[in-house]
Symmetry: C2
Subunit: 205 residues, 2 copies
Amino acid sequence: MTGTLTPMHTRHRRYHHGDLRAALLSRAEETLREKGPAALSLRELARDLGVSHAAPSRHFKDKQALLDAMALTGFERLTGVLAASQDGAGETFSKRVDAMVRAYVGFARDNAELLDLMYSIKHDPGASDALLEATQHWSDLVVRLIGEGQARGDVREGPMERVGLPVFATLHGYADLAVTGMLPPEADEHGLDDVIAFILRGCAP
Amino acid sequence: MTGTLTPMHTRHRRYHHGDLRAALLSRAEETLREKGPAALSLRELARDLGVSHAAPSRHFKDKQALLDAMALTGFERLTGVLAASQDGAGETFSKRVDAMVRAYVGFARDNAELLDLMYSIKHDPGASDALLEATQHWSDLVVRLIGEGQARGDVREGPMERVGLPVFATLHGYADLAVTGMLPPEADEHGLDDVIAFILRGCAP
DNA sequence: ACCTGAACACCGTTCAAGT
DNA sequence: ACCTGAACACCGTTCAAGT
């Protein structure tokens, strides 16, 4: 008997406020970002959302299933950001590379813990098909960029997978260094420019 | 009353077989390699070694302290391998780069889970001084290699940190892709050669 | 010095039972 | 359909007490 007239919010205790699954995902990402992966606990998540500790199991059979779903949303957002970076990037190959590198490193900086999770989950063998597909989408973007560069004569000849792999490695490596805090302080100034120039030289015919 | 005459092994239960600390480290690395990081448990380690679950706390105040010590031995071994790769690598810059890249990727392949642990620990802010020093040693090796290349005229001018960072990023990124199984199958054939050639082009004056 | 045993507060997972 | 409550087997950590 709260005295309120809003029938949809009689109290904090109903069958939750609509979509427990989405609430779990969003709260989980929040605590991942704020307290790190070790602090992620199904029971604490349930407590935070005011449901019983067993409730999450209706939506995620496992803790691993929750982590998988988090990684999947991460990959989807990442590919969205990368695709968007190409839209207004201009014509030249070097501008398109510049835009993609900055988009990727930006995502890495803004979602460091999530990116770590994404890679660690991609790592283990039981990765879901949806997840493999999402990672495929994003490597396709790099492949397409390289292909365009070849068509313009800005990139050396060769199978795209072979030409693209070192680019991918450099991009991923720099982002990972940024994420894990291993970049020396001087890198903030010129690091990104240097890496982009390095990639362009490595690609040149 | 076992009837044996060897006084040092009256039974499996003494104050352990000499060095519990070393035994914990070596067993921990074994289970890390075989069952992954999630399976690492102080209690199970203690069980495996036939001591009580509280015994490890004499040698490692924390689970984190054990992980730190594991990472430290990993960094020491890695710098050893990298330094050794330069000894018989020959004179030319490209041969020295080739040797170091192969040594690093080889270590990454042979110690995938440990390398993951090493980076994740380097990540978090409470890293010990010994650990920071160990990572410093190994980035010094890359810096020295670049410096020699510059002295010979094989590497473009510029501050070594700036010239070396993209090299470091590429090396790290490729090793990480190899470790996390993200390399496409074709990469086994030419991947390493392509990456080395890419690095050399990126460094060239 | 080095280890044991009991205790405490926390997990993830499962399952009958409730609405 | 969705959630609760109790139960189980596991953790990490601490601390008096043993040798």
